[in-house]
């Protein structure tokens, strides 16, 4: 494992920790989406590091591009869900999302 990959892993772990912290702590739905994006960036970093490590940058690049495309589409859908929730509730606070109990 090269030095670069180790550095990337450390950086990615920090990013993941920050992202998870963001999801758990926030009361704002938009910020949850932003934190999910941070998690995605962390994974992109690790993937590129993996590509560097194995020398297969071409394959790793196609992975990264695929990940980016998929995540963007998911983000669009999640934003749509948020938007629908906003129209129903009038605000974007997480306490409004507690209707389903049990």
């Amino acid at each position: 494992m090269s030095l670069l990959f180790t550095l990337f892993l450390i950086g990615a772990s920090l990013l993941i920790a920050i992202g998870l912290y963001g999801i758990v702590v926030t009361r704002n739905l938009m910020r949850i989406l932003l934190s999910v994006e941070i998690l995605t960036k962390a994974v992109t970093l690790v993937m590129i590091g993996a590509g560097y490590e194995t020398g297969q940058m071409g394959v790793a690049q196609s992975f990264v591009i695929t990940i980016i495309v998929l995540e963007v589409m998911l983000l669009v859908i999640a934003t749509g869900i948020l938007f629908g929730a906003y129209k129903n509730n009038g605000s974007l606070m997480t306490d409004k999302l507690n209707n389903l109990k049990g």
Binding site: I16, V43, G51, F63, T66, L70, G84, N89
Partner: protein, 472 residues
Amino acid sequence: MLVPFLFIGIPLAAVVILNALNWKNRWISLWAAVAVSVIQLGLGVWDLVRVVSTGTPVSSSFFGNFTVDSFAAIVLTIIGLLGCVTALVATGTIHESRFSFGSALLVLLMGMNGVVMVRDVFSLYVFIEVTGAASFLLIAIDKKRDELEGAFKYYLMSALATVMMLLSVAFLFVLSGGTSYDGIAAYVASLNGNYPVMLNAAILLFVIALSIKSGVVPFHTWVPDAHSSAPSPVSVVLAGVVIKVSGVYALMRVYRDVFLNDPKIGMALAILAIASILVGALGAIGQSDIKRMLAFSSVSQIGYIILGVSTGSMLGFVGALMHFFNHATFKSLLFTDAAAVYHQTGTRDMDQMGGLGAKMPYTSVSSIIGLLSMSGIPPLSGFWSKLVIVIAVWQVSPGLAIAALCLSVLTLGYFLILQKKVFFGKLNPAMDAVTEVGGSLRFVEVLLSAINVLAGLLFPVVLYYLHMRGIL
């Protein structure tokens, strides 16, 4: 051979044609979904026969490396059956968003077919994401408040699972230099049990990610919310295949073909499985919302499937596959009954129901068949799959087998509660105007009940056939 690609190609063509032209009849998207599912059902059976008779999997290199072996063919058939059932239920229940529903259902089919047919962990991730995206769309399609909440919670758990799975794929990529099932399996086999830390981390992440997607305890929290808030046909397809294909199938495939039935993983899976059976059953007993109870019961039944897989033996795998099929049929039957009850009475709260047995005979009888099958009462289908799983577990660990048997009593428990609350007992005066549901819902109930009964009669034949072939 073009056939495996067609499983994705046909729905793709259907979606494009549906959306490119301006149709006057809004029902056509649902009927297109039914047609495509029936085609898939036929192709699945044909492929199964072909694979079993020639002994080699069907491969396609047309646009992507898609392979259909016997396991995949069975699951593709199940997906086809459930797609058809869901679209039929939708014709009876969805009124506003029908057009998008058909397209979204077709995208869901494409995603699940992709999950089943790929031979590469990264492509597995890609199609699991597609399946997830289509599920969010379907859950939130009417844009009602509860639906959006359920969809968002599902999205969040799915995002966590995605991150873990991708990390795992990256680690596996570094370790084996590639991401194909065969490549990683060759690497794992060459290690002879000496796993480096990175591989252990990768396995752990992968198993946790797929457990989240399967709804296994302790990651099951999103399952009741997503299932109960979804529109009726969506609950049918979610419980019947989405959870199972994007979660349990992926787990089974990866466990068997990539990690080569590693016993440490098997033990961890067995513990999670027993916990799921227990928590799912206990959770179901305390519910008053009929769909939440069914959702918890799904968690419990998936525990049985994973218990069968965790044994690592062929017998356990066959039992798990049988329960996979059975759960798809009896759970979708039960959710269809729940949809029928909901649409005729306007409520999902079981405490307000009662005495519906006389008013809704088809629904009542089919729900009894479904619940009997789920509890494992002979000669219905559920009995055989549970029997095989318990025998397989007995061979590995008798204690666990006894635990599984005892816990199935709990299944009978919530079955009786549901029947008593909804169909038997005194008729609630507010429910006096309720009539039996007609049309496509009734057809689906009858169809699925028939399949349950037939499967129960045919399973011993299948087991005997496997024994003759030397597999069991």
